[in-house]
Symmetry: D2
Subunit: 344 residues, 4 copies
């Protein structure tokens, strides 16, 4: 932590800061200048948070951290890339993984038709919402347990492991019983109670980036899961909120490369929510893989114009099948730089 | 809902859309033009969501809603302004209400000292976090039930009703037992499970706006509470995330005037989180009242430089007392336009 | 400048950075830690820019400035507040200044009617666009010199000094001939050629904040004007671009208090562009004054629904007159904290 | 244009709007509903701007355009993709074009060394700033004409056509004399005087997207150039301003696919400014090509840590050479969907 003090700071104020730094378990290195005095707090004291509060001390003009606040998610702790096994499908390894299915499970027929089709097109995992976070209380809220049962049936029929969202601490057990991977939705990325509970399940977690979360905040949300005991975390970039309205969100593809530079966890992309525009999804998917994403999650519906949620951004069965043919492995192999990023 | 179709849309495509509109319970008014054909879906059909999905139908280029999606929060439903009673303090009435206290309850002494001081300075309600949503799992997470007990003691000592955050559905009962008003934090604004549970408590709710929530999304979050049976909702603007880094968030004061134009619910401002800069808080507080806010929530700590959370944006006891003297009633009376906005 | 180096940085890498710091005219203070080594570059060397480039040197993980990059605009250089005289009207002094008039000058009649009305309602300066920056080349682009002549006539008729926008270096002379104050529009805030030319006129400048400019970038744009020789600069906050679409921009009122804390220049608010919503303008104006703005600039049109630009955000003559009655001086006097901010 | 009126609008108000619509040269189609009345303004009247102002008319609650505001840049006007010839290099055709060189021309030696190296690595065009838009007036502002002469010399030595920025209407002639392509910087995207002047040169233009410009605003800036007579426009996405601070900007790669869907103009990416982080540039470049970009513009410096501008985001000569080897043609061929997007 670096504490920057005003050039007008008195000796007493500087002394006070030095004492506080030492009280918090760090050693203080002072560099006096005309315009500013710099105090470096060096060491591994536990009370970093208290150092930050020194911004409120007289004479202090800035407090800047010099190390990343996350630990277990960091590549500095664990250089080897993590590979997460979801019902036998490995995310973060050499193969690109595609998760596909409807936004919401609407009926047995809709799910089955979609599941069989995405399996035939080459998807590796099946998605489908049973509990839906909806902006309006009057929108379709999901079929709940009935949907979980349909998902289980679809898994048996297709062999595809199932990913589905869990919205509440109270639902964690039941969803974990049915699903192979539990998804934390973007709006729940900083629902810390939910994270703490999910840290104690045995299921792998798909952690979506919040619409206004920095990469650092996203990694710290993952840190909650790892610190709580769950090492099987896959990150998912799904677009952030910006002033641009032509797309539903702004897909921050560079964040995928950045997250993989900072962390050993696998990262996938969600171009469906990331763009919200059906025609852009195939190109955005290719770009995501080219920048190093370990996989994709794609919304597919047999008849998007009758979807109860996210119709405009859902591919139909033929559209998904067409897209999958453009994502052949050589493409990605070529994209991967020197085997480094993908060295599992 | 207005469905805009391409000038190249075929008769069959137009006919298909008309049929779907009618199937959803609306009547279709068609205006054909050279560049575009417009289909107005008029009526009170329940299946608005399905109309939106028509964006995925062939020939459709846009689907635009023409009415607001919220109902119970709207001033069109209830023109009289709502006044929320919190332990005898009325929010949304003629008087400005000030909620003050520490970000986190850190100890019995810290809370007591703060509570007595803010009471003496004129605060109407006491805030203090027992369960803290923290970006990092390594930061102070709150004292939990112990803090709730200190809060109860502080209420007895000062007579100030207590506002505190509830982070999880599982904590709702216990927090409701101790607190007079339950706060939904910004990051939980779209934690719909929590909203549904809070809709069923008897306690009034302080609903913070999410850092990337539009005013419309914020009102729809309140709609969850009202639709679920809780009419005692106070909205709180606490700043949104933008590119500006000199302040912690960008306090969107105009959203207060807008929320009061659209809704009958009271709205208060949180200039502590909204700016994150101690020196700006008094001026931002005055501006919030001038634009029509019904109250303020302010972080106060006896020694901000030792605070375990939010030190840099906390006022000390003297700072809070000084600010309160600049918020005298005549100021606000003058600010209020023609008794309209405040007509309780 | 603080240069943060990795804990793995070699002695040679550290030595190289120290040499470069000294080569740039600073002295280097080194604090070695396990995780990071901190090098403080202290002194008043001119080659700050080269220090920043050290981020590209091996072993360096961060370079952080510790002083503000602006000089002449800073309150540290000139503590007394600047008062700018525009044709006899003082901006930044004890009185609130209101600039009003149409977005575009559309005709002699439209301008005259507006000018007389805003004068009668108490405005101090007249605004009106002669050269209009329009997003589309097909929108009304302004009447040019003809409009300047109408503005001159309106000044003679009302006695109100005139503020108008200059969009191009080539127009500076002619606009300066007619106008009392030259406005730099938001989209030209970083048109550095224009700033350099305006630095050499004798006219005061109204410098609007760019829609994506930080407060720091805004002050640095003003620094171009001061450093080039023009001390008569008034800053204007007019809203920034964010994800919120219910308002045209997000009026960042806290930036006014912040700009006045950092700089001695006067700051006014533009609630017309800042909100883009007519009904919010009076309340936003009061809030701007309450937070310390030295004045307001307001769009007024005799018949907003026939305006060739910005109709939806223009007040009509009665609306402006009504608003002015709510901005009485006592209001502002009460808002001003301890005479400090306004100590001219 | 669709005009939405309140359900409470009177007959007189509706009649007034219909008359205004017809006065502006459109025909009015009215659909009356309980909650809203919709008036479609159909036709090709010129006075669209006046229709928008109807938002200010009594009873009107919304005015929504139903066609895009741009014409000449649109694929609806010209379906064939535009190919821009820059000194013999074709941008927008079947080959990926790479523009490379230093941010600023700092000296004859620096430029020559870079030019020869990027040529050897396979770049097609040389970039280099002679006039630099700098946030601070105290930063290096470019060598001006001297730099233009060095660029000409580098072109003779390498055969690479030259791209350089023009910041002011007054510099257009001189820069056009030396350069093969003129760049409009991001902060000048809406410098309409500059756009109007550049519309009349014979040189192709590289139009960068503004840091807070929507795709629509970007295309309208291009419309200024086309409408003014210059058909040789290349668009360049260079990142937008968002809340994320780990990257300098947020590279909005989906906007490239979107711009190519809406317009026939070529689009390239600037991952140097788009990320601001050297290590992310190769991966972001591959992603840009995968999403359909026609080329790249990359900052390269012989010694980034001594660069007078943008050092941290500049590749060194070896870094650029290494990256170029990962951008082989087959990669892009595979990325291109069905020959459609690239059908020149």
């Amino acid at each position: 932590m670096i504490i920057v003090m005003s050039g007008q700071a008195t000796e007493a104020e500087i002394k006070h800061v030095i004492e506080r730094v030492e009280e918090c378990g760090f050693s203080a290195h002072v560099s006096r200048g005309v315009e500013r005095t710099i105090i470096g707090a060096v060491g591994s004291g536990e009370r970093r948070e208290e150092l930050k509060a020194l911004l409120a001390a007289p004479g202090v003009v800035d407090v800047t951290p010099i190390t990343h606040p996350f630990k277990l998610v960091s590549r500095q702790i664990k250089h080897d890339r993590t590979v997460v096994d979801v019902g036998g499908v490995r995310i973060g390894g050499h193969e690109t993984v595609v998760i596909a299915g409807p936004c919401s499970v609407e009926s047995r027929e809709q799910l089955m038709e979609t599941a069989l089709a995405v399996k035939a097109s080459g998807a590796h995992l099946l998605r489908g919402g049973a509990y839906k976070p909806r902006t309006s209380p009057y929108d379709f809220q999901g079929l709940g347990i009935e949907a979980l049962e349909f998902l289980e049936e679809a898994r048996r029929a297709t062999g595809l492991p199932v990913v589905t969202e869990v919205m509440s601490t109270e639902d964690v057990e039941v969803v974990a019983e049915y699903a192979d991977m539990l998804q934390v939705g973007a709006r729940n990325m900083q629902n810390f109670s939910l994270l703490r509970k999910l840290a104690r399940t045995r299921r792998p977690i798909l952690l979506k980036r919040g619409p206004s979360a920095t990469v650092k905040e996203w990694l710290l949300a993952a840190e909650y899961l790892l610190a709580g005991g769950n090492p099987d975390i896959v990150l998912c970039e799904r677009g952030i909120k910006t002033f641009e309205t032509a797309t539903r969100n702004t897909l921050d593809l560079a964040s995928i490369a950045l997250a993989k530079e900072l962390s050993h966890l696998p990262v996938i992309a969600d171009p469906s929510h990331g763009t919200g525009v059906r025609s852009l999804i195939p190109a955005a998917s290719r770009a995501a893989l080219a920048i190093g994403a370990d996989g994709l999650i794609i919304e597919v519906h047999p008849c998007p114009e009758r979807a109860l949620s996210d119709g405009p951004q859902s591919l139909d069965l033929a559209g998904f099948s067409g897209m999958m043919r453009t994502l052949c492995e050589p493409f990605r192999a070529m994209a991967a730089p020197k085997g480094d990023v993908k060295a599992a």
